[in-house]
Amino acid sequence: MAYVAVKGGERAITNAHKWLGEVRRGDTKIPELSVSQIREQMSLAVDRVMAEGSCFDPELAALAIKQARGDLPEAIFLLRAYRTTLPRFGFSQPVETAQMAVHRRVSAAFKDIPGGQVLGPTFDYTHRLLDFKLAAEGETEIDSAAQSYSEMPEELATIAQVFEHEGLLEIDGVNNNEDPPFDLTREPMSFPAERDQRLQALARGDEGFLLSLAYSSQRGWGNTHPLCGEIRMGEVSIGFIPDELGFEIELADVPMTECIMLSGFASIEGNAPQYTRGYGLTFGHNERKAMSMSIVDRALRARDMGGEVTAPCQDEEFVLYHSDVVEASGFVQHLKLPHYVDFQADLQFLRRLRSEFTQAKDALNQSSNEETKVAAQ
């Protein structure tokens, strides 16, 4: 009976969770996945969970993926719920991506840029043919990449540095603001949103949602005429100044993906026309997310650039309020909770409307019948 189903209590919950554990494990004849296997071999999933989970910890992200049975939004939620319990001991220094130890760097704007194009480990130019060798049991042989004999420069010039001499590209703003940056994990969303708040929301935002928004922009719903100035992926070091020391120490090297998207020209604050840009930055290796983020970031600057806000991707309330996968997933799925009290209220109303409708129709039929009779007489 339906009533019993929604009144299921403690025992039903406990048993459902036990069953979930069994299903997570799958066939026990197959060896169990280890967290380190996930961390090493599902590394792009780990990267996405860390990026949207706003927490850099590959071990915990891999654990979350295992516990979530590979459901990445669920894993992101697990990591966020853990993150929120951690004490906050301070802010790091801003990361210097110009000093990144680059694994991959490509620019679509120039055939060659100082330091060259570095393809790195990429799916690009692979033919998407299922590799049945990977399905074979046992270790597959790795065909290692050839080592280069010429050394990579210590720092690769960024696209901004390339443009610097001519002033063709909008330069990085210098943040003279002494206030700490906006932090969505501590403060509610507020509008109008400044760029720090917008970029944080985008960095935590759902990859699929941002991808579709960026795509909608490309197709003309708030086009920003993007051109991929530079994508770079590699390790950046995280610097921190502890109060008790007073000087910067290095906490970790963290892999990140950065995207600078060149967009249409504008004259900013009365300067000569320049390329404007959108910015994307994520933990780990995630170019789809970084590129989408940079397109949406630029689209959201429409208002700052004196443009008109006409498309969804330019509308900060629309984008920022709906980009968070943990919020969206929770609210859509809360419809599974019992709603029978409000449903009863609605049902009562609908029944009343229907009975009034029927009465009115009957009354109309009766009077028209009488009219027909009168006419016949």
Partner: protein
């Protein structure tokens, strides 16, 4: 549930907890308490707060849970209901959460509770002075269905510009011959702020008016807290010629015979047979204990289901 008068004491030693008392860290609790004080000072005004990610999903009571976590203490007696019932799955889950993280006594008895957390209902038994009612809110903005932009609705509240709401009610009347809101019926607090009472049926709206208890509303996902202090005027919107009215039933509760409570419809089969029972499970059980009988008294729904041993299982779970 029959053991209505029994208060269950959680005896888990505090040192076994992995998290701070009541889960949230003390800084976060302080931030929420400040938001509550502000909300009580400006009745009906939605106070933005730094809502945290909780170990339960957004939309499942995270606002209510954060409010409770900020105000609960070891001497409190906690009741949690969903759709009026103590034994609905999410209520059981949230009650278990606080029994575990806050070493708090739990009860189903409305009269004995100091904090009552609820989704979609106010208990039938009148609230008392000293009690705190915590309501879970999915959408704190009463004007949201009329205006999707938060920047606009905040301005509308600031200017007390509620004409749009009245126009919408008027449109109901011209379309349906009456005001169509049935749950989450908009209320005016102390003749100043328009407020959503959360999706309680309008049947419960009169219980908000001049309530001796503190009423707290928490929306975790939307990051808003609002409140109605004790003995505050809460007026359900209406027109002189279309006055506010609550739901009524031709039936009485099939189990306890009550003709004054909010009733849930229970489908009995696929032949169109149904029965009506009290949505407030404790109210109904207490009446049956006192000898009130409805037309279907003794129906299996009135029997103690194996799940109603929830608290026993809970005790065992905690003892482990």
């Amino acid at each position: 549930m029959n053991e209505i008068s029994e208060i269950k004491i959680d005896n888990k030693p505090p040192q076994e907890r992995y998290y701070t008392y009541a889960y949230l860290d003390e800084q976060t609790k302080r931030m929420i308490r400040r938001a509550i004080l502000k909300a009580l000072s400006i009745p009906g005004y939605q106070v933005p707060f730094g809502s945290r990610e909780m170990p339960l999903p957004y939309g499942w009571g995270t606002g209510g849970i954060q409010l409770t976590a900020a105000i609960i203490g070891p001497n409190d007696v906690y009741k949690c209901i969903d759709q009026g019932a103590d034994d609905t799955t999410n209520a059981v889950s949230i009650r278990r959460f606080f029994a575990t993280v806050a070493d708090v006594a739990t009860t189903e008895d409305t009269a004995k509770a100091t904090i009552i957390q609820s989704r979609h209902r106010i208990p039938e038994r009148p609230l008392q002075s000293g009690q705190i009612m915590v309501l879970q809110v999915p959408q704190p903005e009463p004007l949201r269905s009329l205006e999707p932009r938060e920047t606009e609705t905040r301005a509308m509240h600031a200017y007390e510009e509620y004409g749009l709401q009245y126009v919408s009610l008027y449109e109901n009347i011209s379309a349906y011959g009456r005001i169509a809101a049935t749950a989450g019926y908009p209320v005016m607090i102390d003749e100043r702020y328009l407020m959503s009472p959360s999706p309680i049926p309008k049947f419960d709206n009169p219980k908000l008016d001049m309530s001796p208890a503190i009423l707290l509303f928490g929306a975790g996902r939307e990051k808003r807290i609002y409140a109605v202090p004790p003995y505050t005027k809460v007026r359900s919107l209406d027109f002189e010629d279309y006055p506010f009215e609550t739901q009524t039933w031709d039936e009485v509760c099939a189990l306890c015979g009550s003709d004054t409570s909010y009733l849930d419809e229970v489908v009995l089969d696929d032949q169109g047979n149904h029965m009506f029972v009290c949505s407030d499970s404790h109210f109904c059980a207490e009446r049956r204990e006192n000898g009130h009988l409805g037309p279907l008294a003794g129906h299996s729904l009135a029997q103690k289901s194996d799940d109603s041993n929830a608290n026993r299982v809970l005790q065992e779970g905690i003892a482990k």
